[in-house]
Amino acid sequence: MQFLSDNADLLWSAFLTTLSLAVVSGVCALVLGTVLAAMRVSPVAPLRGLATFYVEVFRNTPLTVVFFFLAFGIVQIDLQFPSRFITAVAALSLYTAAFVCEALRSGINAVPPGQAEAARALGLTFGQSLRQVVLPQAFRTVVPPLGNVWIALAKNTSIAAGFAVTDLTAALQRLANANADQLLAVFAAVVLGYLVITLPSAWLIRAIETRVAIVR
């Protein structure tokens, strides 16, 4: 315990890094994923193709490889992220957006056709029926899968440690290398850090789900 309180500063700032990584990339992934999902159901073929291509590529690429490209490969097309943190956010968002898109699309597919037909019969355009009728229902059905994507994202932030971001996992490596006798305490503290993020999220998701669920 003495040991952990000695390193409380490092652990606390690492925890905040992990948390902000998860929150910022979660928001970015949600926005990008929604755009992708809208593209995948749109009548415009090239956009549909582009979104499908994006999802297939990112779903089949390991997150580590995505990180790797943004950290080392992207320099070759004259792009450079201002900091390691932003590189990590970009990698996590780009990767997670593909899964957000798939979750949303399954939600859109779960909306009964009658809803969209009714919207059409009322004379709503594609954009209107998507925004006002289909997407709100889709969002409410996909609260559990989206929540799970978010939890997976929170755990996946640990990969940023391999790319020089000082998050919880990086703190773990640093503390473990310096204090071989305190390994278990270090691991317990770090795992607790992740659980502090994921467990309340799981509860919150369940609470939201029961609030907004659509009884069909």
Partner: protein, 297 residues
């Protein structure tokens, strides 16, 4: 719902708008591709001799990438076999009638799903040697992948076992089979068959996750590409950097797409065969596909 319900059968003006939209969309897509190609070309990344190195055996690159690929496949294979066996055992344990089996097994499953995969691997790598278990990067990676995926697969198997018709189980009991026999002779074979597509899909995730070996120093595909880059940088500057990274990324994508396709084929076959015709379609949830220790807590 098929997406076509979202928009009407287009009339003349809607068709015109769609054509315009299609053209603009195509232009945007082509423009993006063109922009990237232009930047790459301007940096000389598209010169054929830079890419030739990937296929030139004299440079040693194809061999090294091949070795990296074999290492990746090796750790994935070990993880997959071990995780499948342990996962099936855990699934049976979690369905046990005895609370003293069911509850601890449940705790084990939930624990390994709640911890990030990288932390599990680091735990194996750093902690196990201190209690006298000799560790290498390969073992730590295989063990971490096994522990995480066995928990995921256990839940998948459990869903499969529970999805077998009640009548099967009742009939087996009525024939006088014991609980073990019912499980091993009647329920598990049907569950495994039903779960085959999901098992293959999980292999894709496992293969993706094996790239975490890059972080713990296991010389898999990605780490091989990195060390090749470092080696070439020393001799020729960063001439081949981009090409090697692209090659490693492409190998992963091709491999995973092939495996995903395989999963789809198996799924179609199992669904069309009469024996499992009634099987419900069980999809791998998005969070599990994300790898890295997803899953509900």
């Amino acid at each position: 719902m098929s997406t076509s319900v979202l928009f009407d059968l287009p009339g003349p003006s809607a068709r015109r708008r769609q054509r315009i939209g299609t053209a603009v969309g195509a232009l945007v897509v082509l423009g993006l591709i063109g922009l990237v190609l232009w930047r790459l070309g301007a940096n000389g990344q598209l010169q054929p001799d830079r890419w030739a190195v990937l296929f030139d055996p004299a440079s040693g690159v194809p061999q090294a990438l091949g070795d990296g690929l074999v290492n990746t496949l090796a750790v994935a294979a070990v993880g997959m076999v071990a995780a499948t066996v342990l996962g099936a055992l855990l699934a049976v344990g979690r369905l046990s009638d005895h609370a003293w089996v069911r509850i601890p097994v449940g705790v084990v499953i939930e624990f390994f799903r709640a911890v990030p995969l990288l932390i599990l691997i680091l735990f194996c790598l750093l902690f196990l040697p201190t209690v006298g278990v000799p560790m290498t990067a390969f073992r730590a990676l295989a063990l971490g992948l096994t522990l995480y995926n066995m928990a995921v697969l256990a839940e998948i198997f459990r869903a499969g076992i529970l999805s077998v018709d009640r009548g099967q189980r009742e009939a087996a009991f009525a024939l006088g089979m014991r609980k073990t026999q019912v499980m091993t002779l009647v329920l598990l074979p049907q569950a495994v068959r039903r779960m085959l597509p999901v098992l293959v899909a999980q292999l894709v995730v496992l293969l993706k996750d094996s790239s975490l070996g890059f972080i713990v120093g296991y010389v898999e595909l990605l780490r091989t590409a990195r060390s090749l880059v470092e080696f070439f940088n020393f001799q020729f500057g960063s001439q081949y950097t981009f090409q090697l990274y692209v090659a490693a990324g492409l190998i992963y994508i091709v491999l995973n797409v092939v495996l995903s396709q395989l999963a789809r084929t198996i799924e179609k076959r199992t669904r069309s065969s009469s024996k499992t015709a009634a099987a419900k379609e069980i999809e791998l949830p998005a969070d599990v596909q994300m790898g890295g220790g997803g899953g509900p807590v």
